[in-house]
Symmetry: C2
Subunit: 220 residues, 2 copies
DNA sequence: AAAGGATCGTGACGAGCCGTCAACTTTCGG
DNA sequence: CCGAAAGTTGACGGCTCGTCACGATCCTTT
């Protein structure tokens, strides 16, 4: 009896070269990409599964072979997105040895990520609705998952003054999101500028901000 | 012929005491309140007009006697909300003579407003989706409409250093929204605490923040 | 290599929601 | 007290939803 078990237990090979697996993976990607675009355009709530599938050459029922629901495909998009930025953010903060490095590293990584592909952030931003209630927090999705722990660690090491980590995290996330929103709206293109501004503000407050030469005082 | 015109032109009185007008106003309020609750619970996108009307004793067709669409009732809610806080915010900043008064007044007014009724902020926050695309910006809806102009004025008067008003506004809004989110989640109840934290951060940066006594260094 | 089995794509289906509207009830004005 | 005006109601056709039984496609086994 064991023979049969041994025979069937160790799979010969995952066979990723089969034609079936190939088109399957391809279809999944097609749906994911279409969903990303539609979500970014219509918003999560207003988007229907039909909208997504209509943006592909596939039939309506096919969607449900790959995802159980609209929510699941959304989650998949955000997971993939978070998976790309989360390690970068954490690594950046892990190697920081000063407050300035910690803060500017976080902002720079996030702003460069947003600048690289607006649709990710837009999808996230456009869909704070259902998420807040039933799914993960936006921080999780945006890759700020470990920010709080990193902050607590930095405070414990004496890198940061002993402030409230929750408040500080809220402030960092708020500034990052709102400036990123400006980038997504094309009102602000340069990640470096956003990073410089946000870092200066958090480190030294308004009076430490880079000043803009007022038109009427400009030297000749 | 003019006689008829004169006769019909000057309305006798708006008659706000009529029973008809009374139940009409009452119905409008009923729908608005029901909509506020449903929006806050389901989110704008997921909410249907039927959902709203089901939360009232009225029939489905009645909704359309008061509002043309889901979007219109949502707009009405936000308008009313903004109408209550906008003058307060503007007045608070108008009488400010220092940066500290300007910033803390803005934060205090907003946080007290949110603390007074979470559902307003929650409804706003839950529905960033459709809004960003088709309607006003969140700043408008939340009453931060005139913040940018007030900032520009304060910079011109020399109250603020000559910084970029758009960036600064983004930062203020971001910190305000994210801390308000904590209040709506009941993780933070006191508007004064939020005001103190946000003001200190924007004025002097992280190092100016109120410190929390670390457990292991607490004096005996 | 050919057929049986397993997997996946398809589009038609019932359910449910949309906004409208004709008929009924209530209120107002004379 | 009655006719007109205004408001409410629930049922209706048109639409989109997610599902599912069927047929096509690919893999495997002998």
């Amino acid at each position: 009896m064991d023979i049969e078990l041994i025979k069937s237990a160790p799979r010969p090979a995952p066979k990723p070269t089969g034609k079936r697996e190939l088109t399957k993976a391809q279809n999944r990607l097609t749906i994911l990409e279409a969903a990303r675009q539609v979500f970014a355009e219509l918003g999560y709530g207003a988007t229907t599964v039909r909208d997504i599938i209509r943006a592909t050459p596939l039939a309506s029922g096919t969607f449900y072979n790959y995802f159980q629901s609209k929510e699941e495909v959304f989650q998949a998009i955000q997971d993939e997105s978070a998976l790309r930025i989360r390690p970068r953010l954490h690594e950046e903060r892990a190697k920081a040895s000063t407050v300035e490095e910690f803060i500017s590293g976080t902002f720079r990584t996030f702003f460069e990520f947003v600048a690289g592909d607006h649709s990710n952030f837009r999808t996230l931003r456009m869909n704070t609705d259902t998420l807040r209630v039933r799914m993960d927090t936006p921080e999780t999705i945006a890759g700020f998952e470990e920010l709080r722990e990193d902050l607590v660690g930095a405070i414990a090491k004496g890198m940061f003054p002993p402030v409230d980590a929750d408040f500080l995290m809220a402030a960092i996330v708020g500034v990052a999101f709102e400036l990123a929103e400006r980038m997504a709206r094309r009102e602000l293109r340069d990640p470096a500028t956003a990073t410089a501004f946000a870092t200066a503000l958090l480190l030294g407050g308004i009076h430490a901000l880079p000043t803009v030469t007022p038109p009427d005082i400009a030297a000749p």
